[in-house]
């Protein structure tokens, strides 16, 4: 049973694995970067470290970015390195546990390639951070 942080992203709710979430920032002011791809909300300073802000609504659903977003510092491992980014979501909802049963019919994969989880009887798409980064890179390459 894994823990997930449920967040509202645009008109949808997604689940982010809690293992990836380092912290939730209450306030953040992204510094815009001219020429950056649309999913990049800008650079965000987190205790002296400058991280890339990724607007999840734009990246996953090509929706307009939230005006006053919540920010999550998430991390993932790439090889032996640990990368960190700030993910901007519209709202953080709550922490829920995966209640999927074996053999349960899952919804189709999301654009991010994530799978679905059941929490509180509702199906959410999971946003894997590593896949999210890969998707962002793919957009840059395109």
């Amino acid at each position: 049973m894994s823990d997930y942080l449920l967040c509202r992203v645009g008109c949808q709710e997604v689940a982010i694995p809690m293992a990836c979430v380092e912290e939730v920032l209450q306030e953040c002011e992204p510094k815009s970067v001219p020429g950056a791809p649309p999913w990049c909300a800008g650079l965000i300073q987190v205790r002296g470290e400058v991280l890339c802000g990724v607007d999840l609504a734009v990246l996953l659903f090509q929706e307009q970015a939230a005006l006053r977003p919540h920010a999550l510092v998430v991390c993932w491992s790439e090889g032996e390195k640990t990368e960190r980014i700030v993910v901007l979501v519209e709202r953080t909802l709550r922490v829920a546990q995966d209640a999927s049963e074996d053999g349960a019919e899952l919804p189709p994969k999301t654009p991010s390639g994530g799978r679905a989880v059941l929490a509180d009887g509702v199906c959410y798409v999971v946003v894997e951070t590593a896949e999210m980064a890969a998707m962002a890179r793919k957009r840059i390459a395109a």
Binding site: K31, S32, V33, P34, G35, A36, P37, C40, L43, Q45, G48, V50, L51, C52, V54, G79, E80, K81, E83, I85, A133, A136, R137, I140
Partner: protein, 549 residues
């Protein structure tokens, strides 16, 4: 181990130094194989290097003696001293000073079997100078300085004098002196080392468009591209440009304002963005908490419009001759820029008629306007739709070459193509088709002939008041006259026209030749210009003008 002799007095921050020593020791332990896999080791080494970098940046002044002793001691205590191979043994050859030997002993404990060691030893009046570089690289890698693996140690010793030991970190984090500029309301940093000059004001920042539509400015006689470095930057006339240089490349970066320079710790952009935005070298945090994006000079120059073409055209030559490009009857023509004194607009300036020839008149220039016939290659009547002109001057005489529009300037490599039309015309390649080169020699001959045909006006002026002479001199200077000396006897002065045949004498003024016309017509004609209105004022002053037969 006997430490090297140190003569310099440097401040020591013991606490910071111990921290660095500790970090270096941990790093060395890792390099010696504390980790299980290569990838893990690299990651850990990278992290330790980053810590060392930060520590080194905080530790600005280090006593070199303490450095050597403590680092070596730490390495010994941790048992990471390595057995030196044959390669390093040869390094001792030729190094005979006590300081250098002590240095070698120290270095022997830092070098690993994978290290590349480079030693240069030269003699000087002060003694033996040893320069030593150790770079920890993989044997098969071909990397440049600072862009590869953990640390680079540079040392220099002078016999019985001093020892410099520098531990260099990779280029990922650098303490750089940056000039902060504002572009479109955002702050950016430009490396101070790369900054050549900041040009301000409309007189210096004159952007021109070449045949491709790319903007450029003339900087110290050289055409350099004007770059909007920041993606999405507004395309309006810049108030300032920062001229930057990297290697042989030059570019002018359009900026709004320049605020100040500061020493900033420049770190790389987050990996996701670094791939997408090569125009930024990194980012830095200001004391206020603001994030400054550092512009990459090499990327700016590489992305400048026409860089590839320029490099292809001018591979290793110096500055190629500059040509001004203009439109003439639907064609692009090129004229040697050094011969052009001024580019004037024929639209807003008073144009009079001298005989049958149209004449351009401004407070500074009175000259006939000539046109260029593209079919015959001869100079004659100006085109009806002439809007601009090149002022070409020989001695005191000038003509204005009429053109439809001035398009900019370009450097020409020197390889003429086959003539397009006419006997003497050549063509130079520009981005869109070709520009036809106007042979300047017939035009210069025309100007010279015109100067010879002018008789000039010899005037004796009686100047009862010395300030009248000063006023006259300033007027004549504005007209292009050559003032030989100040007036002498009796405040009288003789003014010569070119070709008048009167020898110069002290106190003479050589006046710019005006067309040979009747005096009354000449005055009427000249009265149209601002300059001659000044003459009128001068005439009304107690100055008498008298023409000499």
């Amino acid at each position: 181990m006997n430490g090297p002799k140190i003569h310099s007095d440097i401040q020591v921050n013991d606490q910071e130094l111990l921290r660095v020593v500790d970090l270096v020791g941990r790093l060395a332990q890792l390099v010696e194989g504390g980790a299980s896999s290569t990838a893990t080791m690299d990651a850990l080494v990278a992290r330790r290097v980053a810590e060392v970098q930060r520590a080194l940046l905080e530790l600005r002044l280090v006593d070199a003696g303490s450095w050597c002793g403590r680092i070596a001691g730490t390495l010994n205590e941790m048992g990471v001293a390595v057995t030196l191979g044959e390669t390093l043994g040869t390094l001792h050859r030729g190094v005979s000073t006590a300081a250098a030997r002590a240095l070698m002993e120290l270095v022997a404990q830092v070098v690993t079997p994978r290290s590349r060691v480079k030693l240069a030893s030269t003699g000087s009046a002060d003694g033996c100078v040893v320069e030593l570089t150790i770079r920890n690289c993989r044997p098969d890698s071909d990397c440049g300085p600072g862009d590869c693996h953990p640390l680079e140690l540079q040392a220099m010793s002078r016999e019985e004098r001093d020892l410099h030991l520098v531990l260099l970190a990779p280029a990922s984090e650098r303490l750089l002196r940056m000039v902060l500029v504002a572009i479109d309301g955002r702050q950016f940093g430009i490396r101070e080392d790369d900054l050549v000059e900041i040009l301000t004001g409309s007189r210096q920042v004159v952007s021109r468009r070449d045949a491709t539509g790319a903007e450029s400015i003339v900087f110290r006689g050289r055409l350099i591209p004007l770059v909007r470095a920041v993606p999405g930057q507004k395309h309006e006339l810049p108030r300032m440009v920062a001229v930057v240089r990297r290697g042989r490349g030059l570019a002018a970066v359009a900026v709004d304002t320049v605020s100040h320079s500061a020493e900033l710790l420049c770190r790389p952009l987050p990996p996701l963005l670094a791939e997408a935005l090569p125009v930024y070298d990194g980012q830095a945090l200001l004391p206020s908490g603001d994030i400054v994006l550092c512009l990459s000079t090499s990327a700016v120059i590489a992305d400048a419009p026409g860089t590839a073409q320029r490099e292809r055209r001018q591979p290793a030559r110096g500055d190629a001759p500059l040509f001004l490009l203009a439109d003439l009857e639907g064609d692009t023509v090129a004229f040697p820029a050094p011969l052009v004194r001024e580019v004037v607009s024929l639209r807003s300036t008073l144009v009079g008629i001298e005989g049958r020839m149209r004449t351009f008149m401004s407070p500074q220039i009175v000259a006939p306007i000539v046109g260029y016939d593209l079919r015959t290659g001869e100079f004659g009547e100006p085109p009806a739709d002439a809007r601009a002109g090149f002022v070409i001057r020989v001695g005191q005489c000038a003509v204005v070459l009429a053109l439809c529009a001035v398009r900019g300037a370009t450097h020409y490599e020197g390889e003429y193509l086959a003539p397009l039309s006419g006997a003497e015309l050549g063509g130079i390649p520009v981005e869109e088709g070709r520009a036809r080169v106007i042979d300047p020699v017939p035009l210069l001959q025309l100007v010279a002939r015109r100067g010879a045909s002018l008789a000039g006006i010899r005037v004796r002026l009686s100047l009862p008041r010395p300030e009248g002479l000063a006023l006259l001199q300033s007027c004549l200077t504005a007209l292009g006259a050559e003032v030989v000396t100040a007036a002498t006897e009796g405040a009288a002065v003789t003014v010569h026209g070119e070709g008048s045949g009167v020898p110069y004498a002290p106190g003479d003024i050589l006046v710019s030749a005006t067309p040979p016309m009747a005096r009354d017509r000449n005055l009427r004609w000249c009265a149209q210009t601002d300059l001659l209105r000044l003459f009128e004022m001068l005439r009304q002053a107690p100055v008498v003008t008298q023409e000499v037969a």
